[in-house]
């Protein structure tokens, strides 16, 4: 077990990284550890625990801005926002259930480091799209800042967005400033049943290509539908979410029903059933409770997703479903073997990237993220070196040497 080291303020965070630099120690940076299973399995000499660096430092609802120190529990932030009828619009995934941990854990720093957005990614963007500013400590042990607290800012390079999703390999966030948005007063979900993958893709494409402002579009095959209490019936379904003010949702329901007319009859899920349904989609709940069997998350062209999901089922025995109007394929492999080459070969004709989200440490010793073409790989290593020349921050967590 690596030595455990906790900090509770920015100065001691900088000191801890500086010490690692001077002693040549590799740090495993973590908050509460809910996302510790993500990324490549990397060796570390010391665990740097930033969960003590906690607290919401700024929240101005009518300016749509919130700043919090990296170790602040995400649940605390979401509760505060909900009290003011606001939200993190990117709908961050709660990775707890997928990793066999309780729901509702995790810190904002971990959320930022992983950039795992939920169903609303489709309409509202990812974590990075809402990143306004950061304070952080780079692998040089130096405190730096970038961005700010305002919505519109091109003063210098956009480091806050670039650092989102970098898995703590470049810098340890000290404070994160995000754009927040109003919580829609109401939501509902329209369901269409029994479509094959090709028709599912067409239905989602038609819905997204309409002016209905769909904020969630998922397709589930019959086996997943049958196994989940959130889904009525046991046929394949396409689910489309509408959110907003009551009169608007009502009007868009009528519009969407006519868009979907060629695909069959429509059933409506009212809240709270709609909320439960999208939480299931967001958190990969169909794959929770399956130990460390390998789980993939593939991002691709939306129209290709449903057929790709079917291919993974037919050729590799994976259980699958699609989010992001088909652009995100979740796949649970039939065992601990990740079968990375086969998964990536299936993805290749459509473009995009595949990430091994959950697997045993042995499986995660190899490629977890999409392998990079050589010029991009070299550039990625140079970017890593620019922030962390001695390789002290989560070395190897994204790629070998990164």
């Amino acid at each position: 077990m690596p030595e455990h080291f906790s900090i509770s303020d920015e100065a001691s965070l900088a000191a801890a990284v500086t010490e690692a630099v001077e002693q040549g120690l590799r740090l495993d940076v973590r908050g509460t550890g809910t996302r510790a299973g993500l990324g490549r399995a990397a060796q570390a000499d010391r665990t740097l625990d930033v969960s003590g660096l906690s607290g919401i430092s700024l929240y101005e609802p009518d300016e749509l801005v919130l700043s919090a120190r990296a170790g602040t529990p995400l649940a605390q932030i979401e509760a505060l926002l909900a009290d003011a009828s606001q939200m993190l619009a990117f709908e961050p995934m709660d990775t707890g259930p997928l990793f066999g941990l309780p729901a509702g854990g995790g810190t904002i720093g971990g959320m930022f480091a992983c950039n795992l957005a939920g169903p609303r990614r489709l309409s509202h963007g990812a974590v990075r799209d809402h990143a306004l500013g950061i304070r952080a400590v780079s692998g040089r042990g130096e405190v730096f800042k970038s961005g700010g607290r305002v919505m519109k800012n091109v003063t210098g390079y956009d480091l806050p967005r670039m650092l989102a999703g970098s898995l703590g390999t470049l810098a340890v966030m000290s404070e994160i400033t995000l754009k927040v948005l109003p919580l829609p007063p109401t939501e509902e979900t329209l369901l269409v049943f029994g479509l094959d993958p090709a028709a599912s893709a067409r239905a989602m494409s038609a819905a997204m290509g309409s002016a209905c402002e769909v904020s969630g579009a998922a397709s589930l095959p019959p086996d997943i539908a049958a196994a989940r209490p959130e889904v009525p019936g046991d046929r394949a379904i396409v689910a489309l979410r509408l959110e907003g003010f009551e009169p608007s949702v009502k009007a868009r329901r009528a519009m969407l029903i006519s868009v979907l007319a060629p695909f069959g009859a429509v059933e409506v899920l009212e809240p709270p059933a709609s909320r439960d349904f999208w939480r299931m989609v967001r958190d990969a709940l169909p794959f929770a409770g399956s130990g460390l069997d390998a789980v993939w998350r593939l991002s691709t062209r939306p129209t290709a997703g449903p057929a790709l999901a079917r291919t993974l089922t037919d050729t590799l025995g994976a259980k699958t479903y699609c989010d992001w109007a088909g652009g995100l394929v979740w796949a649970l492999m039939p065992g601990e073997a990740a079968q990375g080459e086969a998964v990536r070969a299936a993805l290749a004709p459509h473009g995009g990237h595949a990430t091994l989200i959950r697997a045993t440490a042995a499986q995660r010793a190899g490629d977890v993220f999409q392998p990079l073409e050589s010029s991009l790989a070299a550039l990625t290593r140079r970017v890593k070196a620019s922030f962390d020349p001695r390789g002290v921050l989560n070395p190897g967590r994204m790629y070998a040497e990164v």
């Binding site: 519109k152 390079y157 991009l376």
Partner: protein, 497 residues
């Protein structure tokens, strides 16, 4: 004008004839421009106060040519300034005496429109509006709409992370770009993103957007397309004070409403715009808001009611809702013509571009009025009120000795004020050369070094667009040094478990 630019490399200047010949072998025909008369259109961008004749202009047509040009420049230590349509309002495309000006105007094709996946693949020289024009017959559009959208290119939009009046609801360029093909200074071609969402590795796409041509040359862009909302309605609201107007914006947002656009103009800007386009703006108000709502008719009707009630509660003195599309466009015509309208009041004006936390607006306006008296120069304000992006227009006459210097000093003071109240130096025009020397107002040396080391990761010789964004040029070796204090543990009393 006392603008400092990197000293020209005499070795490069001395080899001009050879360099022109070498470039001509890469881009044959009329793709290399080197006669002064023909290079004249390239000597400045949207900031016409700065002028510099380029060393040579090259207009490539293919990614392969861009790759060979950059590899050649890299091998020969020649600087490169990329340029789109040259509409930069920060001098981002200002040439250098010893730099190849790489004009991307011939990359003007829409390559692929994919309605089913709601995206388009275009070359970087396609104009912002050109993308919407190519897809509007199917009811789609490209969301960011900077006021220069008829002329500015998507490549330039990526360089500056351009916004427009609809960014609060629809986002900036960075939120609407899915993928890029780009060429590094070494000539290596890399692809970031595509028709899918999110990055498979580090999000270098996010870094490229807003990097002002310092990191690479974009040769292909995949943008997100949106379906046009059913209807859009605008409401024009006048207020006796800017505090009331600001309060109204805050209350609209606090009510959970994110309008498609919320613009504010002050008395001088209203008067100038009304005199110019005569759309019926009220002239007896201190502040005017244009609030646009879009979506299904039922949503617009509902929200117009809400917004009208909030405005009344905030002391609005006039309120008009657009009844027709023509009237809505009329409301916008004044706002969109605000810059030229103000331009008619004065021989010259400087357009500033700070962003502030919205609640600081009354303070900032008051302080600006004081500065206006101090400098003896008038200022008119237009404000993207939804996202806090302020465009003070400082009126001056370049023919009066000292007025340009005074206007620039006034502008710098305004930007310092923006930072002081929690805002930033530039919301959408970019740093370029114009705000370069103000960067230390917002960033300390450590902050800037982290950015400049990234530059080194992309361009170790500092050949791409040098002299822009960063106030000092450091050598990469110097920036890369680690300062380790001899193995001493600096905080031996830190808690350990």
């Amino acid at each position: 004008m006392g603008l400092r630019l990197p000293a020209a490399d005499e070795n490069v200047l001395a080899r001009r004839a050879d360099i022109i010949a070498d470039l001509s072998s890469i881009v044959p025909g009329e793709g290399v421009i080197f006669r002064e008369r023909e290079m004249k259109p390239y000597e400045s961008d949207g900031v016409t106060a700065y002028k510099q004749m380029p060393f040579v202009v090259v207009l490539p047509e293919t990614t392969a040519q861009v790759s060979r040009i950059l590899a050649y420049c890299h091998a020969n230590g020649i600087r490169v300034v990329p340029r789109g349509a040259g509409t930069s309002l920060s001098g981002g495309a200002l040439p250098l005496a010893d730099a190849v000006l790489l004009g991307m105007g011939k990359f003007n094709k829409v390559l692929d429109i994919d309605y089913a996946n709601r995206c388009a693949v275009v070359q970087p020289g396609v104009t912002n509006l050109g993308i919407t024009r190519a897809v509007e017959h199917e009811g789609f559009y490209y969301a960011p709409d900077p006021s220069s959208q008829i002329a500015c290119t998507i490549g330039g939009n990526i360089g500056e992370n351009s916004g427009g009046v609809h960014t609060l609801k629809y986002g900036l360029t960075t939120n609407n770009v899915l993928g890029l093909e780009m060429v590094l200074i070494t000539g290596e071609v890399i692809r970031l993103g595509g028709k899918h969402l999110d990055s498979g590795g580090l999000d270098l796409l996010a870094l490229m957007v807003g990097s002002e041509g310092l990191l690479g040359v974009v040769t292909e862009v995949t943008v997100r397309l949106l379906k046009k909302p059913d209807v859009a309605r605008a409401v024009l609201v006048g207020f006796p004070t800017s505090e009331d107007a600001g309060d109204c914006v805050a209350k609209i947002i606090a009510a959970g409403i994110i309008p498609a656009g919320i613009e504010m103009m002050d008395r001088d800007a209203i008067a100038a715009a009304e005199a110019f386009v005569k759309v019926g703006y009220p002239l007896d108000v201190e502040a005017l808001l244009i609030v646009e709502l879009d979506g299904p008719e039922a949503e617009c009707a509902h929200l117009l009611g809400e917004v009208s009630a909030i405005a009344a509660a905030c002391n609005s003195s006039t309120l008009r809702v657009s009844r027709t599309e023509e009237e809505r466009l009329g409301f916008w015509a004044g706002r969109k013509a605000a810059f030229p309208a103000v331009g008619r009041l004065s021989p010259d004006y400087l357009c500033m571009d700070g962003t502030i936390p919205r609640k600081q607006l009354p303070l900032v306006l008051t302080r600006m009025r004081e500065m206006s008296q101090q400098y003896g120069l008038r200022v008119a304000n237009v404000f993207h009120a939804g996202d806090g992006n302020l465009h003070p227009l400082i009126l001056y006459d370049a023919n009066k000795p000292g007025e340009l210097d005074a206007a620039e000093a006034f502008g710098s003071d305004i930007l310092r004020l923006c930072v002081e109240v929690g805002g930033v130096l530039t919301g959408e025009h970019g740093v370029g050369v114009e705000k370069r020397d103000l960067m230390p107002v917002m960033f300390n040396e450590v902050d800037l070094a982290h950015q400049q080391r990234l530059k080194c990761a992309f361009d170790d010789q500092g050949l791409l667009n040098p002299g822009k964004v960063f106030p000092t040029l450091h050598r990469c070796a110097e920036l890369g040094r680690m300062h380790v204090s001899g193995g001493q543990v600096p905080f031996p009393d830190l808690p350990r478990f």
